[in-house]
Homo-oligomer: 336 residues x 2
DNA sequence: CTGAAAGCGCTTACAG
DNA sequence: CTGAAAGCGCTTACAG
């Protein structure tokens, strides 16, 4: 026995029209809330009920093709930006964009080019958490898809720079260590930090936050190299404050310091970046820089919305709304 | 002065045809590698060169609408599945799917329904890392979009179950603790673990892995509650082995045990799940369960590909390829 | 290879 | 509200 109402194809607006006993145009007006049309409440309800009953979902492909608009926002994330803090940032931004009528999806870049991605999806806009390849930038311009930069690197002359920059993070770290009375300041990072600009920016910020040089910089690769650094700090009579590149680096530092029997924070202090969920459980609990991303996610979403409506070139007319909230703050724990 | 070759609209296949001096059909044949057509090498090159020069990217919307096919795979991730290990799993799966010709994007579910998502994108298939809402399952069936379950819950009767299940994890934890001579075994979890089935499955697995009961189960909420548990373990004359729900839970346990002055692993042992990047730097370094996701990502990608080609109902004919690799393994460190 | 064509499902202006 | 219609850019079968 064949089920009589199982369609062999997905339902279309035409099917909804038939089921609701109205014209196809009416279905479109109801489903799109077309303001220029007045639809009576009973008709409206009948259409919506029929759509629901049939499991109708408008074809994204047809809608995008015909209207030239899309509700999809594509967030492009480099592999090194898949941290807790940045994931939270993307999720908040997605929530803000949802309120503006968009749907956000994320793509972690493995191959470098956006070409394949753009041939498979038709986004209204792209958010990139990393500097975009020039070829891809050209492509996006050609396709008239606005690209908003959601990365936290200073980008001179670029209007869309979030208040939170790499500099902010380093400055908070170094300033805090100075306040706590650490005399010698060292910026410590592993050799591989994804995009080198991140570490450079944070180090530059540390120079500022320390109230001027010197802030040393140590790059290590491997346990041996780190142990050698630890010996240097242990033997130094000065109290040494370490600005760790991120929380993971900080955890590695704390473990190495513990192995060497160094007193933390008595002789050496450590500050991370990210305020990861592991930070409170470190040994000792880790002081870290927490991002305040709520308002910044709203800014980013607003830029995307503006770019979609007015085109990518909206430098002067959309300044980020002034907020009292600092872009980041220290969460002080026992490691300093 | 106006730039003479800046088009006001995005280039189409027609533009490429004009630029290459061929017919529009030829462009389609070249760009799609249509096997039924023989295109001479010079023509082929001319078309590709013109496409490249114009920055042509085929319209995903038009292509999907016309062909009824899409190269987009949508991976739906609940907020609690955004861990390092699962992110890595998704990225590996995306890489495998890329090799099969798909492009994968991820959506973290905030609102529960897939409706908005499916109205904004036309995926060829959906991978869900969480059980799918029945309404959404119906919707996907109606839209003829196959949905493959990428979550690690046992799902009785479901053909697509990866070798790695929640049970596997718990079993490895408990088996290891027994081997290490811990007499009393406790499964410890915070009250909120996202989807409760995860903790239930892991606990069930621990019962098996321990070679039979008893394995106690402790659910805590807050530092106070945890401290009370720690006192209980400290006062017990038996060596107690703790199966922590995940690495974060394990880190919290280690911190609490350290505060209470409990000897780890002398008196209490701790095993996590995830083998997160913080695990090696814990105090003491944390023994944890690492997922072997390489082959499992390949299986998942193969299921997606099969589902796209043969429809969602492919139970019997696509068994997961047998691999020698265990679905997960212990990484033993000092905490046990 | 070319050229003319249909049609995917939708949005949206138009005359009633 | 209805009904007939165009057209977004593409894929793809067809006759040459």
């Amino acid at each position: 026995m064949a089920t009589h109402d199982a369609p062999r194809r997905r339902p279309t607006a035409q099917d909804v029209a038939r089921a609701a006993g109205v014209s196809r145009a009416t279905v479109g007006f109801v489903l799109n809330d077309t303001p220029s049309q007045t639809i009576s409440e009973p008709t409206r309800r009948a259409v919506l009920a029929a759509a629901e009953r049939l499991g109708y979902v408008p074809s994204a492909a047809a809608r995008t093709l015909r209207s030239g608009r899309s509700r999809l926002v594509l967030c492009v994330v480099p592999p090194w930006a898949t941290t807790e803090a940045l994931s939270a940032f993307v999720q908040r931004t997605a929530a803000e964009l949802h309120a503006l009528g968009y749907v956000t999806v994320t793509h972690v870049t493995t191959t470098s080019s956006l070409r394949d991605l753009l041939a498979a999806a038709s986004p209204a806009a792209v958010i990139s958490l990393a500097p975009v390849d020039p070829a891809d930038e050209t492509r996006l311009r050609t396709l008239r898809i606005p690209c908003v930069h959601g990365y936290l690197l200073d980008y001179p002359g670029h209007p869309h720079t979030l208040p939170l920059t790499q500099q902010t993070m380093g400055a908070l770290q170094a300033g805090h260590l100075r306040e706590r009375g650490f005399e010698r300041l060292v910026y410590v990072q592993p050799a591989d930090v994804g995009h080198p600009g991140r570490a450079d920016g944070r180090y530059t910020g540390a120079l500022t936050g320390a109230g001027g040089p010197p802030v040393e910089r140590s790059v290590y690769a491997g346990t041996e190299a780190l142990a050698a650094l630890v010996r240097g700090w242990a033997d130094d009579p000065r109290r040494t404050g370490l600005c760790a590149f991120d929380d993971l680096t900080a955890l590695e530092l704390l473990a190495a310091l513990d192995r060497a029997g160094v007193d933390v924070p008595g002789h050496v202090g450590v500050v991370g970046v990210d305020d990861s969920s592991a930070a409170p459980f470190a040994h000792p609990p880790l002081t870290s820089v927490r991002f305040n991303l709520t308002t910044q996610a709203r800014d980013l979403a607003a830029w995307v919305h503006a770019a979609v409506r007015h085109g990518p070139a909206i430098p002067a007319d959309t300044p980020p709304p002034a907020t009292d909230e600092p872009p980041a703050q220290l969460v002080v724990r026992a490691s300093t």
